[in-house]
C-alpha cells in the first residue's frame, strides 16, 4: 500500500509541474523538439498511470482476499473476478459503447437517434465522400484492461443505418 501511495505522490508532482503554472508556460516559447519530448513524456506517464492503476486494483483485491479462508486457486479466481468487475465498471463509465450486446442490437434502417440511444454519442461524426454514405459515426477508445485500441463504425445514408462495423472487443 505504501508503494502505491508513493507512486501516486510522484505522479501528482509530475502532473502538477505541467498544470500548476500556466502563466509560466505562456511566458516562454518552447521548441518543436521540446514539445515532442513533452508529448513523449506524457505518453510514458499515461502508460505508467495505467500500470499503477491496474497494480493497485490487483493489490487491493489481493489484500482483501488474503484474509479469507480459501485455497490459492479460489483466491486467484476471486481476485481476477474483482479486477475484471472494477475494470468493466470503469470502461462502462468512460466507454459505454464497448459492449458487444449493444452492437449486436444495431440494425440497418435505424435512425441516428436510435443509434445514439443504443451505443451512445460517437467520438466522431463525419460526412463521407462515398456517394451512398452521407455521414459516419466513429467510436474510438482503448480497453481499460489491455490498452488495446478499438474502433466501431456506423454509416448512414438518407438518415438510416446502411452499414455497421462492430468493434472487436
Amino acid at each position: 500500500m505504501k508503494k502505491h501511495t508513493t507512486y501516486s505522490t510522484l505522479l501528482a508532482l509530475v502532473c502538477a509541474s505541467f498544470f500548476v503554472s500556466p502563466a509560466g508556460l505562456d511566458a516562454q516559447q518552447i521548441s518543436r523538439d521540446e514539445f515532442d519530448s513533452l508529448a513523449k513524456r506524457v505518453e510514458q506517464l499515461e502508460a505508467s498511470v495505467r500500470m499503477v492503476k491496474n497494480t493497485q486494483i490487483e493489490g487491493l483485491a489481493a489484500e482483501a482476499v488474503s484474509a479469507m479462508p480459501m485455497d490459492m486457486a479460489d483466491k486467484e479466481s476471486l481476485i481476477e473476478s474483482v479486477v475484471n468487475t472494477i475494470q468493466a465498471k470503469e470502461e462502462g463509465a468512460n466507454f459505454p459503447w464497448m459492449d458487444t450486446a449493444k452492437w449486436a442490437s444495431l440494425k440497418k434502417g435505424m435512425s441516428p437517434e436510435d443509434v445514439v440511444a443504443t451505443v451512445g454519442i460517437p467520438t466522431l461524426n463525419e460526412p463521407s465522400m462515398h456517394k451512398r454514405v452521407d455521414f459516419v459515426y466513429t467510436y474510438q477508445g482503448r480497453r481499460v484492461a489491455t490498452a488495446k485500441k478499438v474502433e466501431g463504425i456506423i454509416r448512414f445514408y438518407k438518415g438510416k443505418v446502411v452499414e455497421v462495423e462492430a468493434p472487436v472487443l
Binding site: L124, N125, E126, P127, S128, M129, H130, K131, R132, V133, V136, R155, K158
Partner: protein
C-alpha cells in the same frame, strides 16, 4: 443582383466548387474543424494545354454549444485561382509532338474568400433562423466538389446554371417530417431586396423533390429538381429557368431554359455517372452536354474520379477530360 455577383465571383475563382459540411475534427466540446483539399487536372481538346490546380482548399469551423440554441459556422475557401497551366510548344522544328517540344508553366494569383459564414438560432427542432453569408437554395448540383457526382457542372464549359451563389442575408427554415420550407432575403446594390423561397418533399422512400423560386432585381429564377434512389441506381432530373433583366448581345431578352438528367450507378466503392444537360443559354445559344464519369471512394475521406464531357454549343463541339482527387478531413 448581389447573389448573381457573388456567384460570378465564386465561379470566376473556383469554377465549380463551394461549400458543404464535411468531416469534423473536435477541437473542444463546442468547436470543431472540417474541410477538404481538392486536386484537379483538366485537358481540353485541341488546345494542347493541361491545367492542373489545387482547385480548392476549404477550412470550416463549427461552433455548436450542446445546451445552446445558438450555433455558428465560418468557412474559408482558398480556391483555384492558384492555377498552374502548362503549355506545350512545337519547339525549334515547328512540328507538334516531337522530342524538342517545349513546356511552359504559368501560375496565376491565388485568393481566399468566405463561403458559409452564419449565425443560427434554433427556435425549435423544426424552426431555425440564420443570418450571414448563406448559400443559395438553388440546385441539385452541390456547390462543393465533395457533393458532386462528377467533376463539372451541367452548364456550358462545365459551369453552373444557377443564378445565385453565396450572399449576405437572413433566412428562416422550417422542417417537419416529410416537408421543408425556407425563405431568404438579402440586400442588393439598389434599394430593392433579393428573395429566395424553397419547398421540399421527402415523403417517399428514396425520393427528394425541391422547388426554388428566386426574385432579384437582376433576375428571376425557377429551379425544380428531383432525385430518386432505387437499389444501386440514383436518378435525378432538373429544370432551371433564368430570366435575366439585362439584354444579351442582340438586345433580345430571352430566358435561359436548361434541362439535366443524371443516372448514377453504385458498384460498392466504385460508381459510374451518366449525365445529359442542354437547353437555351443566354441569347439563343443552344447547347447539349454529355458527361461520363467513373469514380471510386478509396475511403470515407478520399474520393477520386475521371470525367469525359462532350459538348455541342451551336455549331461548335469539344471534348474535355478531367481527373480529380479529394481528401476531406
Amino acid at each position: 443582383m448581389k447573389l448573381q455577383k457573388q456567384l460570378t465571383a465564386a465561379l470566376a475563382g473556383a469554377a465549380l466548387f463551394g461549400s458543404v459540411a464535411n468531416a469534423e475534427i473536435p477541437l473542444t466540446d463546442e468547436l470543431s474543424a472540417y474541410g477538404y483539399i481538392d486536386l484537379a487536372l483538366t485537358d481540353g481538346e485541341g488546345d494542347a494545354n493541361t491545367e492542373t490546380a489545387v482547385a480548392e482548399f476549404e477550412l470550416g469551423l463549427a461552433f455548436t454549444p450542446a445546451e445552446s440554441k445558438w450555433s455558428a459556422v465560418a468557412e474559408l475557401s482558398y480556391d483555384s485561382n492558384s492555377n498552374s497551366t502548362t503549355t506545350r510548344g512545337d519547339g525549334v522544328d515547328g512540328i507538334p509532338n516531337t522530342a524538342d517540344d517545349t513546356f511552359t508553366t504559368t501560375t496565376t494569383d491565388s485568393s481566399a474568400e468566405f463561403e458559409t459564414v452564419t449565425i443560427t438560432y434554433a427556435y425549435s427542432d423544426e424552426l431555425s433562423f440564420t443570418a450571414g453569408n448563406i448559400l443559395s437554395y438553388q440546385g441539385f448540383e452541390a456547390f462543393d466538389a465533395t457533393g458532386l457526382y462528377q467533376f463539372s457542372a451541367q452548364g456550358i464549359g462545365g459551369g453552373y446554371v444557377y443564378s445565385a451563389g453565396y450572399a449576405v442575408g437572413a433566412s428562416a427554415d422550417y422542417t417537419s417530417g416529410d416537408y421543408a420550407f425556407g425563405a431568404w432575403v438579402g440586400d442588393t446594390d439598389d434599394a430593392k431586396q433579393s428573395y429566395e423561397f424553397l419547398a421540399a418533399f421527402t415523403g417517399v422512400e428514396g425520393l427528394t423533390v425541391k422547388a426554388i423560386y428566386a426574385d432579384d432585381p437582376g433576375y428571376e429564377t425557377v429551379n425544380l429538381w428531383a432525385s430518386y434512389d432505387i437499389g444501386a441506381l440514383t436518378f435525378a432530373v432538373e429544370y432551371t429557368s433564368n430570366d435575366w433583366e439585362d439584354d444579351f448581345t442582340a438586345g433580345e431578352e430571352r430566358p435561359e431554359d436548361i434541362h439535366m438528367a443524371l443516372v448514377y450507378y453504385s458498384l460498392g466503392d466504385a460508381g459510374i455517372t451518366f449525365r445529359y444537360s442542354g437547353g437555351d443559354y443566354e441569347n439563343d445559344i443552344e447547347f447539349d452536354r454529355y458527361t461520363f464519369s467513373p469514380s471510386y471512394s478509396f475511403s470515407d475521406n478520399v474520393f477520386g474520379l475521371l470525367e469525359v464531357s462532350y459538348e455541342e454549343v451551336g455549331d461548335e463541339d469539344s471534348t474535355t477530360l478531367a481527373a480529380e482527387l479529394i481528401y476531406s478531413f
